[in-house]
Symmetry: C7
Subunit: 97 residues, 7 copies
């Protein structure tokens, strides 16, 4: 995935519903308006649109819960689906047990 | 529940209507647009989206009344339902008698 | 009523239409979009969502006129109805004669 | 009228269409979306919702033209109709000749 | 016209379509959404709603082009029609040749 | 064209589709929602509505591409059509080759 | 392409779906609401509408993913299609391998 996100944006790789990550994170059902689970694959610099800088709160490899209404889906590389969104649309990080 | 909420978000465990907490808090009816009751299970750091920090006004174990229109529901762990929302959508804290 | 309102919120006990308070305040008709009358039962700390503090302009026992569109109704204690709203949705205070 | 308006709000007593005030102010027709004429009966302190203070630009007894879309009507005292609105919805003051 | 506009508002007297002012200004057609031409008859103090002061950019007697969507029409004096609007809805001033 | 635009507004003379300017600028097709081409005929002072001043980025005689959704059309002089808009609705300037 | 974009705007040349750039960037499918791929052809100065300056985050020749809802399409030169948008609607830059 060779897209470098701009500003405070983050690229995610959605985790398919039936999967369970190595560390045993349970994937939530994703019917209707529920937020979704994904893995962070790229993180912007944290500059906002007016040129102020803020720290990014997520890192590559984090499993996150995100609000799909702020997210856009695109295909890249071998037709894989990715999601791009502003970090404020990431709701939380799943902690590895 | 292993989700660490980001920014000023809070994870809640809804309290089922028929229940009565140990301390005797009465659960309000939840028809229509009425706010709901839940218990706080995780609290963000209080950073806002622009990088300013504010103190969080709720703590884990607080029983709270919250506005469901700012809240998103997700399932975690053993398929349990949780709610995630910004702390500004928490209306008040029930005080133990 | 054991709910402690957060931020600049206020809990009100609506005054039923046919009543007349001890001090003789006349209760306005409440058809359609008209604001309503209630008594203040709990007052938040005045912190706003960004962590600034402002003084609260109402006190417990004040009779107030409020805008019902910013208000949420909930039931508490012995199934009594209360209203919670931000203080900016309180329009004015009825002065005792 | 014993309502003390909060913040930058103002209570008005609408002037009935057929009337002409003592000083001869002509009452505008009030069909459709046109602004209306009223007399100021109570004025808030000028604090805004964030706690800053601004000077109030109208005084009790001023005859004013106001935008009815920012105004709420309520009944008080002997079932008299009053209007409450923020001072920014008062368009102008009629000067006595 | 005895209305003193508040804040940064301006009172205008619309110029009827068939007229041509003394200085020969051509009156634009006013079909549909097009802005309209009027003469300034009263100007506010330039205080804005938050108490900051700004200079007013128009003067009494200016012929102006204005955006009718920010304007409210009212009748005054001998049933004459006037328009009141914020100065930001005045688009430009016609210069006398 | 004797209209002096206020604030950061600009008056444009639309360039008719079939035309080609002296310098050979090609006029874009203007079907649907596409931006349009025009020549700047008058430029405001750059004061914004709150009294701050900003530099104007266009000059009289510039050929510009503009967003028609922020623009208002009016007729002036010999019934010629002009457009008035805020400079932020001007997208770019065509450079003479 | 002789359009100099104003403020923080950027002109893009959309990359047609079937193409593959020299460096092997795969072009994403562009059905429905998905963001699109384009090459930067001109970059504004970075002044924003209020006169503050911010650094531009993209350069001419960058391959970018952009949000088509903030973009306007226009034709120029030999009837070629271009896109103009604010830099905040550019989601990310494809890195050359």
């Amino acid at each position: 995935m060779n897209l470098k996100p701009l500003f405070d944006r983050v690229v995610l790789k959605p985790i398919v519903k039936e999967n369970k990550t190595k560390s045993g994170i349970l994937i939530p059902d994703t019917v209707g308006d529920e937020p979704l689970v994904a893995e962070v694959v790229a993180v912007g610099t944290g500059d906002d649109f007016e040129g102020k800088k803020q720290e990014m709160s997520v890192k590559v490899k984090n499993k996150v819960l995100y609000n799909k209404y702020g997210a856009m889906t695109f295909k890249c590389d071998n037709n894989e689906e990715y999601v791009i969104l502003r970090q404020s649309d990431i709701l939380g990080i799943f902690e590895e047990e």
